[in-house]
């Protein structure tokens, strides 16, 4: 197995001013499952394709087991990749699709057959070996793509949104299955997705990318509890984190004009962004002392287990694209739409970010 290191990897596509990746540096340990997550166009797929050798970095190096692989052709990197649309060869049977790489490498027929059979059994594909991809369901094709990756026992697996073409139910099943498979093979895995549920449930660590920059690399729980900046805070978690503008002067936090009674955690004076996850927002009576501001109930969404309450608040208190405040509440204690309610926020549970840099103020 293998470790992968990114050393100041920068990518600029020809004819484009914008850097698709700028100075990406972090390490992936041997046998580790790392998820690259971020919005469309953040550079996650480009980073994966650079590891694969399908793209080359404009600057910087990629090291596998400490060796710079920039000049090694893709096929010689001992890496396997599962493509988003699986990229199965339509003219070959499942058996030949899985065994394609072995055949290229000149593995003798008997051994090839045995290895393909093993991989197929692991993925419960053994009845389908004679079929062509066109005759398989989406889930089965996905498994064939996995089979083609694992049969060679490569040093690392690269997966580019492998579950995005499956329906919701199958996606949940395959999510668990890929995690199991990775643990069983003990393989290093780099997994690209835009789906934060996949990122949170599958990865040992998650790397969040935005606009070609690594925002944070951390285990999922850490990412949720301690986001390094506003972007990570907003990207991870659904419904997304509420952000309010505030100012801090001499230990007193104000949201708009209203001072918050609760003592703010120790931080310097200045503009801050207060991040409160919906489950940490409490709906109280407008006159209550716990209310740091008031809002009008705009929409109530019943999800069964819990209820999302969307609240309109004074626009000057939110970010331009921040929209309204969302609170989750127990199904029974739900206010009427149109009602004015008080919004309570426990400052011990909120996140503080510097208004200018967006960086978290907690860690310092």
């Amino acid at each position: 197995m293998a470790s992968i290191s990114f050393d100041k990897v920068t990518k600029r596509f020809p004819g484009s001013e914008v850097k698709a990746l700028s100075s990406v540096s972090f390490d992936i340990g041997d046998g580790e499952f790392v998820v690259l997550v971020g919005p469309s166009g953040c550079g996650k797929t480009t980073l994966l394709r650079i590891v694969a050798g399908l793209e080359s970095a404009t600057e910087g190096r990629v090291l596998i087991d400490g060796k710079d692989i920039s000049r090694v052709p893709p096929g010689d990197r001992n890496i396997a990749m599962v493509f988003q649309n699986y990229a199965l060869f339509p003219h070959l049977t499942v058996e030949h699709n899985i065994g394609f790489g072995l055949r290229i490498r000149g593995v003798p027929k008997a051994e090839r057959k045995r290895k393909v059979r093993e991989a197929a059994e692991l993925l419960e594909l053994d009845q389908y070996l004679d079929r062509r991809p066109g005759e398989l369901s989406g889930g089965q094709r996905q498994r064939v793509a996995m089979g083609r990756a694992i049969v060679r026992r490569p040093a690392a697996f690269l997966m580019d949104e492998p579950l995005s073409n499956l329906d919701a139910k199958l996606r949940v099943e395959m999510r668990a299955e890929i995690s199991r498979l990775q643990r069983r093979l003990g393989a290093t895995m780099v997994y690209v997705t835009h789906d934060q549920t996949e990122a949170m449930t599958m990865g040992d660590r998650v790397a969040v990318l935005d606009q070609g920059l690594v925002q944070q690399v951390a285990p999922p729980v850490e990412l949720y509890q301690n986001p390094a900046n506003v972007f990570v805070g907003g990207f991870i978690g659904a419904p997304r984190m509420n952000l309010l503008r505030g100012t801090c002067r001499g230990g007193t936090l104000r949201i708009g004009d209203r001072p918050v009674r609760q003592k703010a955690p120790n931080m310097g004076d200045g503009e801050v962004l207060i991040g409160a996850r919906p489950e940490d927002v409490e709906l109280v009576s407008p006159e209550s002392e716990a209310a740091v501001l008031t809002g009008r109930v705009a929409l109530v969404e019943h999800l069964g287990k819990e209820t999302h309450v969307h609240l309109d608040i004074d626009e000057s208190l939110t970010l331009p694209d921040g929209g309204n405040i969302v609170a989750t509440s127990a199904p029974l204690a739900v206010p009427q739409e149109g009602a004015v309610v008080g919004i309570g926020i426990d400052l011990h549970l909120t996140h503080f970010f510097a208004a200018d840099s967006g960086l978290s103020m907690r860690a310092h």
């Binding site: 004819g15 919005p39 469309s40 000049r71 995005s164 835009h194």
Partner: protein, 318 residues
């Protein structure tokens, strides 16, 4: 933080460097192996003779066995003053422009009408058919159709009591019109087929959406079909330029069964053939013929570049 809703996954919009431009792999050498055989044959069979043609066009040469003498641009100058050449040139232009307008008008009508027709595959197969028949055979058929006394057309007109309309269709006055009609008959099928296949590639939901918005069938055609098949139209226009300027066998064979056709039917390629390769041997005008060939190639080149410019537009993917 817009979640991609499966419209276009980010990875598909990303500009890609070519797969083969790998670090540590010399690309041109690989490409060279793939390209060399075709390129060598192409250079030897097409390009070198074309260059030779340019040279011959600057000489006076009566044929193999005669010594070619260099005369500069004399051939071109003489062509410029030659009435016959100008008539040939005008005929080729007429085919290109008038014929082109009619061929594409007919092809569009077929395209629009056949969209809804149940027997469209059959109709398409029939109208394309002349394009797989040898031009000589087409010329024979056209001759039979238009023959003065015993031709099918005159026979048909007489049979339905319209003998007043019978004509000597292949007389010098009408000959070129008859040629045009034949070319239109042949090539409409070809271009209708290409346009129809282009239209077939447009997903039906565009028509459904436009229909729901209340578009008439003419609006569907101008607002949906034309813009979404623009690349096909552009290629078709280029192919027509080439076809219209190059077309030769049909006219040549219709003009005379094995003899050189009369000058009243000459277009540029026929003119070129007759003076450079025709039956007037051994007093052939190879130099002047080659000059006509060069003019044709230049015409094709200029018009193709011009058309490409005029019709250039961003590629619409769907």
């Amino acid at each position: 933080m817009v979640k991609s809703v499966g419209v276009l996954p980010g990875s598909m919009r990303r500009p890609r460097t070519s797969l083969h431009r790998q670090p540590g792999r010399s690309v041109p050498r690989q490409a060279g192996i793939f390209l060399a055989p075709a390129l060598i044959i192409y250079l030897l069979i097409i390009v070198a003779p074309t260059v030779a043609t340019i040279w011959i066009s600057l000489t006076e040469w009566k044929g193999i066995g005669d010594e070619a003498t260099f005369v500069g641009i004399d051939n071109y100058r003489r062509l410029w003053q030659d009435e016959t050449f100008r008539a040939s040139f005008n005929r080729t232009l007429t085919i290109l422009v008038v014929g082109g307008v009619i061929v594409f008008a007919c092809a569009f009508v077929f395209t629009m009408l056949l969209r809804e027709l149940r027997s469209r595959k059959f109709v398409r197969a029939v109208i394309f058919f002349p394009n797989i028949v040898p031009p000589v055979a087409l010329a024979i058929a056209w001759g039979v159709l238009l023959a003065p006394r015993s031709g099918l057309l005159n026979g048909f007109l007489e049979a339905i009591g319209l003998s007043s309309l019978t004509q000597t269709w292949l007389s010098p006055d009408l000959f070129f019109g008859s040629i045009m009609a034949g070319l239109i008959w042949i090539y409409t099928g070809f271009f209708a087929t290409i346009l129809m296949a282009g239209v077939d590639r447009v997903p039906n939901y565009f028509y459904e959406a436009a229909g729901l918005e209340g578009a008439s069938s003419r609006q569907l055609f101008t607002r949906v079909t034309i813009p979404l098949t623009w690349d096909v139209l552009s290629v078709s226009a280029v192919l027509w330029v080439i076809v219209a300027i190059k077309t030769f066998e049909f006219i040549y064979a219709l003009g005379g069964s094995g003899t050189d056709p009369s000058a009243a039917s000459w277009t540029l390629p026929v003119h070129m053939y007759v003076i450079a390769l025709g039956n007037r041997s051994p007093i052939l005008a190879l130099g002047q013929g080659s000059a006509i060939a060069v003019i044709m190639v230049i015409m094709v080149g200029l018009l193709v570049v011009l058309l490409r410019r005029l019709m250039r537009r961003g590629v619409v993917e769907f």
